[in-house]
């Protein structure tokens, strides 16, 4: 592999990591807030963190499914749109970026909630 190709690959990876990473940071913050709010309202740290973790898993699952779904039927949808001349702005790339953000946020929330729980309950 040429140096240019390696550099290109690195830049691509870095951009993706940044996309998912910033989403994960947002997700982590939201996860901690959600866990805190849920724990405070129910008065039970264990139950609060459980619900927050499950909510994070919901977002992660949705994101990953949406990401792979976009990759799976993306061509089909774009072709169908081309042939049917329906103008929507749906593109596979856009969809995958959005879903990668969601997945990152969900995973971030799950990790943060686990960390919070470990600190509080050991």
């Amino acid at each position: 592999m040429s140096d240019a190709a390696v550099a290109g690959l690195r830049a691509g990876i870095r951009a993706r990591v940044r996309l998912v990473g910033s989403a994960a940071a947002v997700g982590a913050a939201l996860g901690v807030v959600a866990a805190g709010a849920l724990a405070a309202s129910s008065g039970d740290v264990e139950a609060g963190t459980r619900t927050a973790f499950a909510l994070g898993a919901l977002v992660l699952g949705f994101g990953v499914l949406g990401w792979s779904g976009s990759a799976m039927v993306g061509d089909s949808v774009e072709t169908a749109q081309r042939y049917m001349a329906t103008r929507t702005d749906w593109t596979e790339r856009d969809s995958r970026r959005a879903m990668a953000r969601l997945s990152g946020a969900g995973a971030g929330a799950m990790l943060a909630v686990v960390a919070v729980r470990t600190v509080l309950l050991g």
């Binding site: 949705f62 949406g66 329906t86 103008r87 959005a98 969601l102």
Partner: protein, 320 residues
């Protein structure tokens, strides 16, 4: 520039609006085109008839009496319609069900339930969809991308399977509301997509830019300029989806995740028909509630198709 103060211009404009409303409606290309579409007029008539039935049922029929069993009161159970048997033709117009309840009255009351819960479902998802769509269109960029692509993924799920998955999440005690909430979430993305499409077209128009330049704050622009221009596509989308919402609500009731046992909802009556009349040939248990359901849905589909055709072509693209 006119010498009027801004306030007076607004008041004058409002006055013109009010006086001209009827005339403008009559001259509206949308309405005249819609009314010249024969199928759409048929659909509209069906819907009006069902609404009348619903209102009648709500005012004059007692839901408690329709829900409770009539067994042991001398009324025969699973009796065929009067005109199809030996009793006087006007007795038991649609026959009686397994609990000796009058199917005709139950079908009428079913119209009220279908219209009521259909309106709640479609109304709530319209409001949620409008919120999400307008926000996505107005803020653009990452917000737009994440919100709309999420809606697209939700749209890709088969509606009934998604509704079933959601129904499983909510507590059983919610009864029919469980189905309503699930379907509201299933339908919201459709409205978000339409509204975003329409809102983007409005925002492209220069006068919104001009309003923003003049210092109008975000919510004001949205409420005063974007929303009124999205009304037509929203109405079309609501009509098209009303029929689907009624079918899906009935389907969930049919599968046992909607209306509580005994409720005179069409879906539940169909389920009773399958359980009590299929093998023994008691056709009236299934036929009449299904007929009401299918005709109502056909009415909404016909009107919705006609409305879509009558819509401004620029907006038509947004409605699927």
């Amino acid at each position: 520039m006119s010498t009027d103060t801004p306030d007076r211009t607004d008041a004058a404009a409002a006055e013109t609006d009010r006086r001209g409303l009827l005339a403008r409606l009559r001259a509206s290309p949308f309405l005249s085109e819609l009314l010249s579409n024969r199928l759409a007029v048929v659909g509209l008539s069906i819907i009006l008839a069902i609404v009348l039935i619903a209102v009648y049922a709500r005012l004059f029929l007692d839901p408690g009496a329709l829900a409770s069993s009539r067994l042991g009161t001398g009324i025969p159970d699973r009796h065929p319609p009067g005109w199809a048997s030996s009793v006087p033709a006007d007795r038991y117009l649609f026959g009686t069900d397994a609990a000796a309840r009058d199917i005709f009255r139950r079908c009428l009351y079913g119209a009220w339930l279908a219209m009521l819960y259909g309106t709640i479902t479609v109304g709530t998802s319209t409001v949620l969809g409008v919120g999400l769509g307008v926000v996505a269109a107005y803020y653009g960029d990452v917000t737009d991308n994440v919100v709309m692509r999420t809606m697209d993924v939700l749209l890709a799920f088969p509606p009934l399977l998604l509704a079933l998955a959601l129904v499983a999440v909510f507590p059983r005690e919610l009864g029919l509301w469980r189905a309503v909430i699930a379907l509201t979430l299933v339908y919201t993305p459709r409205f978000a997509r339409v509204v975003r499409g329409a809102a983007l077209k409005v925002l492209e128009d220069e006068y919104v830019d001009a309003t923003v330049a003049l210092g109008a704050s975000d919510p004001r622009v949205l409420v005063r300029h974007v929303l009124p221009n999205c009304l037509a596509p929203i109405t079309v989308q609501s009509t098209l989806n009303f029929g689907l919402a009624i079918i899906d609500l009935a389907a969930l009731s049919f599968l046992g995740f909607g209306a509580q046992a005994g409720t005179p909802s069409w879906g539940l009556m169909l389920s009773n028909g399958v359980n009590n009349g299929l093998l023994t040939g008691k056709w009236w248990l299934s036929f009449f509630p299904g007929l009401f359901l299918a005709v109502t849905v056909l009415g909404f589909n016909l009107l919705g198709d006609g409305m879509r055709d009558a819509l401004d072509p620029r907006m038509r693209e947004a409605v699927d």
